[in-house]
Each structure stands twice: as C-alpha cells, then as structure tokens.
C-alpha cells in the first residue's frame, strides 16, 4: 500500500469557548481528491488552516510526506509542497494577475528590480503546463471572481504546490465556472499527480469530483467514506446527525392582495448603464416570486432600487398601496419591507459589532430597548438576542462575540433572524443560502416557507436554480434587465427556463 502524503494525528484545536477540532486523525493519500464536508462551524477551515501552518493545534501532530511538521508556519509548509486557496481570496486588487501570481518569489533584474516581463513569461509557462488560462497583465480588480480563483490556484502552483487545499471554492462560482474548476482539478490530478483537498457544502459536487469524503460534525471527524459507496442523502444525514429529508415544503393558503408593485422601473447601474429596463411586476401577499437570472442581468439593481439602496431613474414602486419611489431605505422599511441582502458582510451586518448588536439593529428605538427615548437597556438587548440566537439555532461563541468572527452560514442566520423578526408584509430575499450548509439550508427554507404561509409577500433572488424552483410559486426570468418569461413553478423545467435566462427565448410583452 502507498504511503499517505498527509497524516493528521490526534489533532485538537481549542478556541476560547469552542473546541473547533476534537481529536482528529486522518490520512490523505497521494493523487486523490478528498472532499471534506460538514456544517458551518464544524471545524473544516480550522483543520485546513492547521495543515497550512496558519494555526498551531492545541495538541496533536501533522505529518507531511512522512515528515513531522515542527513549526506551524505557512512558509515551512509551502516548502513541503502544500498550497491553499482560502475562502476569502488574498490578492492585491491593484496588481496585475502575473504580479499576484509571482508575489513572494518574484523574478528580478539585477537582483533588485522586479522583472515584469519575466513574471509574465513564467505565468504563461504555468498556464501551458496546467492548461489554465488567465489574462496575465490585467489588474486583479478588473477580473471576475472565477478568474480570481484561477489566479489563486496558479499562485499556489507557482510556489510548487503538489497538495492543493481548496476551502469552499465553489461558494462564489456560477455553475459554469464550477464546471470549469472541476475540469482543472481533474486535469492536475490525472496529469500532474497532485493531491487535492476540497471543502464544499454542495453534495452533488462531492459526488462529482471526489474519490473519498470525510464528514465533520461539531469538531469531530465522524466518518470517512469512498465516494462511490455513499449517496447525497447519506452524506446529508451524516453531516447533520439526523436524517435530512428535503421533503416537499408545505404550502398553505392562496395568494392575496398585491403587496408590492413595480411599474415601468428603470434603474442605472454603478457605471451609469441601464441595468433594469422598464420592468413591471406585481407581488401578492402569501406568494413567493422567484427571480431566475444569470448574474449581471439586472436582478441586483432591481432589488437595490426597490429597497432604496439605489436611485430610481424612472417608474413607480408601491408597497401596500403607498408610493415609495425614491424614498430612503428607512422610509421604505417603515412602509413594510424587510430585506436579506445578497452580500451579508458588506451590507447585511457589521462585522465589528457583536452578534447581539447585529440582531438588535432596526429595533433599537423600540421602547423595551430604549428607555426615556435615549438610554439603551443593555440587559433587555442581551436577553432578546439570547432568545433569537437560540430560536434560529445560531452557532458560535455566543451573542457577545463579534459577528465578523462567525462562520459564513451563521452570519447568514443572524441576518435572516433579524430581517424576519420585523414581521414585514414584504420580504426581499437575495441569495439566502449562499455558502450555507445543508442542515442550515433546510432550516432557512422552512423559515421562508413559514413566512409565505403566514401571508408575507416574498421576492426571492438566487443563483441556485434548485432553490428558486423549490421555494417559488411563480418564477420570472430576467435577461438584460427585462422580464423574458413568467411561469408557475410547476409548469416549467430547469432546462427550458435556461433558454429564457439566456435570452434565446422570450414570451411576448411580458409583465409579472
């Protein structure tokens, strides 16, 4: 039998209040694709950070290619041939692709000056070797997220990585980009005999790409399986520790009165180009209207205009019959709208504030938290936060921890818990489960459906078509800022809807 390239021996990692890794032993074999799955906060990133030398375990050892890691320091580990692409990219936006790739091992002229030509040549050579193309001389800030990820991968390869760690690489990718990434992974494993460890939440991806899969739960490694011996149902149950059914969600009640209407809305994007073209739609109480669109077809601008974050060029928006066109987000919220934004870190919360504070926002002026109109009742805030924290099954180091230190899925639960707590008649929800694990997805989906059944009018936008289909009563497709189709969710298939999303088919004169 072959020797493992990496052994984790009894690794434990204690953070204040959290045992992130609990006595983990694991062997990774050369040339395999090993998938690591588990709920948000299960400790996957921590284990990989230890392997990459960013964190020092509280106890236990890591062996790479038969040698024990003496000092946990990325420089050491990189020398041993380990590369890592983090959940959040670590690129310098103003540097070119080539400059980013060669950073830390730059080719030099006369040993002092950075040699840009040599850098670009080196990158071109890498591209040929690995069959991965990137625009060498374009600044990183001008390329797409999928492309940035390639740059991260090439950066690791440039430093001589033979073992590549990818932490949730597909969370930010479109389905097409994911397919491309998998092509790259298969290529480097087959032709370069590299070893890949990939963390993901999407079980179909585990099935598609991995040879073996390890399941983590609450810091423990609860199972290692050959991928061909398992199926998605089994993996989901293993991750969550109970059966996850993804049954048909129960829908009750009929759509009621229109709660949100949009008439002839025109919105410009940040560059001043028309992003939403004279779009009209009507959203009724007790229904979920899903938006199916490829990123960049106006769905973000549509939502930002409705919620007051972006100016309206022309048209009219009403909430419960009240005209809110051009009002600021505060006034629109008062009219009866709550909003789960697509980018939770930039818009949905303050990472530097505590979880309790983030849960409070929007309610801070209520009498129970605001004595005499100015004194913040911090005990009441805490009690309220504790209650919501428990009810939404948020997991982390408690309500006094900083929101920015939480794992992505738990941040998302904080945002959802807060926005749902207003009991607003209109809910705008964007990317509700991006980067969220299956257990939490099931939870969030059932919460959304519960809101619908209670009579909320919900506008849902998601890059995940399965999600749109699962939740929506009606689906509209957007292409270049226009509605190209409007369907009952039961009337259309995913394949067919793709034609409307890409603009190759269109229903005449569409309004939703």
């Amino acid at each position: 039998m072959r020797e493992p390239v990496i052994n984790f021996k009894h690794i434990s990692m204690q953070f204040p209040g959290v045992l992130a890794n609990d006595d983990i032993s694991l062997d990774i074999m050369p040339g395999e694709v090993f998938a690591l799955i588990g709920e948000n906060g299960a400790g996957k990133s921590t284990l990989m950070n230890i392997l990459y030398g960013i964190q020092t375990p509280t106890s236990g050892e890591v062996w790479i290619k038969g040698r024990r890691v003496e000092e946990f320091d990325p420089r050491n580990v990189i020398e041993q041939g380990v590369g890592m692409v983090h959940q959040h990219f670590m690129l310098v936006p103003s540097f070119t692709v080539a400059q980013n790739i060669v950073m830390s091992k730059e080719p030099r002229k006369h040993r002092i000056f950075f040699d840009n030509a040599a850098a670009e040549a080196a990158v071109r050579k890498l591209e040929e070797d690995y069959g991965l193309t990137v625009p060498e001389s374009v600044p990183v800030e001008d390329i797409s997220v999928g492309m940035q990820q390639r740059v991260e991968i090439l950066k690791a390869l440039y430093r001589g990585a033979e073992i590549l760690i990818l932490d949730e690489p597909t969370a930010v990718l479109t389905p097409q980009e994911t397919e491309e990434l998998f092509g790259v992974i298969r290529g480097i494993v087959r032709e370069k005999h590299m070893t890949v460890i990939i963390i993901t939440h999407k079980l179909d991806e585990v099935m598609a790409i991995s040879d073996r899969v390890g399941v983590m739960r609450k810091g423990k490694l609860v199972g290692i399986h050959e991928t061909r011996d398992v199926n998605q149902q089994m993996l989901a149950s293993l991750m969550v520790g109970r059966p996850v059914l993804f049954d048909e969600l129960e829908r009750t009640g009929e759509p009621g009165e229109p709660a949100l209407t949009v008439e002839q809305l025109r919105v410009l994007d940040h560059r001043g180009l028309v992003a939403v073209r004279d779009l009209s739609l009507e959203l009724r109480a007790g229904e979920i209207l899903g938006i199916a669109a490829i990123e960049g077809n106006g769905q973000s601008e549509l939502i930002e205009a409705i919620t007051g974050l972006m100016p309206v060029q022309s048209g009219r928006i009403t909430i419960l019959g009240k005209d809110v066109t051009g009002q600021d987000p505060g006034e629109i919220r008062e009219a009866g709208l709550a909003h789960v934004p697509e980018d939770r870190l930039a818009t949905g919360l303050s990472g530097a504030a505590t979880v309790a504070e983030n849960l409070l926002v929007g309610k801070q002026r209520e009498a129970r938290f605001n004595r005499w109109g100015f004194h913040q009742n911090q005990a009441a805030v805490r009690a309220y936060a504790e209650e919501v924290y428990g009810r939404y099954d948020i997991r982390g180091a408690g309500v006094e921890a900083l929101a920015g230190d939480m794992s992505g899925g738990n941040m998302q639960k904080v945002v959802i818990a807060r926005e749902f707590s207003f009991d607003s008649p209109v809910l705008i929800i964007s990317q509700p489960t991006r980067g969220v694990d299956v257990g939490a997805i099931e939870f969030i989906h059932s919460r959304i459906m519960e809101k619908r059944n209670q009579g909320a009018a919900i506008l849902l936008s998601s890059a995940d078509l399965d999600e749109v289909f699962r939740l929506s009563d009606r689906i509209i497709t957007l292409y270049e800022g226009r509605i190209t189709g409007c369907f009952r969710a039961s009337e259309i298939t995913k394949e067919e809807i793709g034609l409307y999303m890409t603009g190759s088919r269109q229903q005449g004169g569409k309004e939703a």
Binding site: T56, T58, D328, R333, T347, S350, V361, F374, E400
Partner: protein
Amino acid sequence: MSKKINTKYLISLMVSIFLAFAVGAVILLCTGHSPLTAYGAMAEGAFSSLRHVGDVLEYAMVLAICGLACDLGSRVGIFNVGGEGQLLIGAIVAAQIGVSLDGTTAWLVIPLAALGAIVSAGLYAMIPGVLKVKLKVNEVITTIMLNTVAASLCQFMAKGPWKSANKTMVSATENLNVRYWFDGLIPGSNLSTAIFAAAIIAFLVWYIMQKTTQGFEMKLTGQNPRFARFSGMRIDRKIIVCMVISGAMCGMVGMFRVYGSEHLFKPSVSNDYYFEGLMVAMIARYQPLATILLSIFFAVLKVGAEGLQQVGVPNQIYLIIQTVVIFFMAAQSGFLECLSVRLQKRKAAGANAPGGPEAEEKGGAEA
C-alpha cells in the same frame, strides 16, 4: 468581548509607554543628560507644588475635551482634524461677547459666551461635515485647510476690528472684565471652575457614546455606513450632527481657555492643543474613558516637561515620548500578534507533553 480587548490594549499601552521612556532615556544619554535626573525633574515639575498640579488638571481638561471631540467624530467615521480652528473661532467669539457686553451681569454674559462659542464653532465644523456628506470631499483635507482659514481670520479680527486698545498687544482682544472670569481654584495656576463644566461635558460624551441608543447608531454608522443606511438609519444627518457637536466641544474649550485662564483672546490661547488631544485620542483608540485617563497622563508629562528646563534639558523630550508612544501603539498590533502566537505555541507544547511526541520518544528510549 470588551474585556479581552481591554487587557490586550492595556498591555500594549503599558509596553509602549515603557519603551517610549526607554527611547527617551537613550536620547537623553546620547545628548549627555542623565535620564534619572531628567525624569526626576519631570515628576517634580508636575507634582512639586499645588500650582503645578492645578496646571496639570487644566491641561488635562483641554486634552480630554479635544480628544473626546475627536472620538465623537471617529465614532461615525469622520476624522475631525479641524478642532484647532474650531477652538480658535469659539475662543474669539466668546471673548468678544464678553467684551462687547461689558457691564451686563455675569449670569447673562457667561451663558451667551458659551452659546456663542458653541454655535460659531459648531457651524464652522458643519462646513466639512456637509461637504463630506453631500459632495464626498475628504474631511481631512477640508478640516486642515479650515484650520488655516480660522487662524488667519482670528488674527485679522484680533489685529483689526476687535483689537485691544492696549498698544503692547499686537493681536489680542480687550481684556475681559474680572467679574466674568471663572474663579481660580488654585491660586497662581490656570485651573478654574471651568473644569467642572468640562467634567460634565466629558461625562455626557462618554454616556452618549457608550450607553445610549443614539450612540449605538453612531457606532454602527462608523463601522459600516452601508449597513447603517441599509437598516434605515439617516447616516448623513448623523455624520453632520456629530461633526457639529465635535466642533462645539472644541469651541467650548476655546471659551474655557479665555474665561478660565487667559482672560482675553490671543492666538496663543491654543498652541496646537487640539492636535495633542487628537494624538491622545488616537493612542486611546478613540475610546472615551481611555481618552480621559490618558489625557491626565499626558498632561503630567507636558507640565512636567517645563521642569526639565530647570535642569537644562530641552522640553521637547515630551514630544518625543508622545510620538514614540504613538509609534509603538501603531506597531503593537503586529507585535502582539507575534506574542500571542508564541504563547499559543508554548501552550501547544505543554499540552503535547503527556501524550504527545516528546513523551512517546522518551517512553521509547526508556523501554
């Protein structure tokens, strides 16, 4: 949460201050002075007489209110570098109100002077606030430029329309009538009853920032303006209001200086006092309580530095220590990280000992 950060912060602050004194000592040695004598003279300068203690408290008051004014701006994400100008404007307006109402009862003059300082300095600070919010003009640049404008304007008024009849003063307003002076608390020192007003202001600012709903909203605005706007806060208004209050506080300091210590307006009512307050605020990481405590500490150094002159050491050593503290505080984040990694490793090594590799190896050797 705050507890953990506080211990970390305290350690780094202590280390920085210690290192600053060490650097100061090296410089003293290099220039042929004995650090011990010099630091001794400093302590003596600050504490040897009641008069000096009074001066320390008066200067601490100035630093604290200026520092808190800076804290307030930074809370909503605006960096008020213009406090010096706001202070001067407040001072000259307050002084001239006292001069022109000469003869009226102090019960009218003092509140009017305070109001004048608050309104004039507040409005003056509003300019950069509005420019930032409406036109996205960087407030650091506008406030710095407005400092120069304010200084020139005050010079002009004090040399022109409001000039004192006293020929020996080149640029100063008329002296205030003694009945309007804040009572001195310690004879011979600058300390006056203004410190009670300052204490109330300091308490209010601390309370607003730490304990109120409005302070909570300010904090979120500073941390993530997009999020604050998204959740329905009027962030533009908050930024302008904070800037106005920040300016008004500086204006009050100007009034305190005039009615408590100088008794007339002259350009030297403030010698870059706001900038020193701003540095204190920076060292205090814009936390109100720390700003107040550090103000006292730096006031001791500043007043003590006067004592240095007596043993023939230039008092600039005070400035050196102050800037070196800032330098080390800035470097500390990296430094502390290093320290905590070391500690973690030590702990890891300790945890390894019983069942870990060392034990195994030893066990093997013995067997």
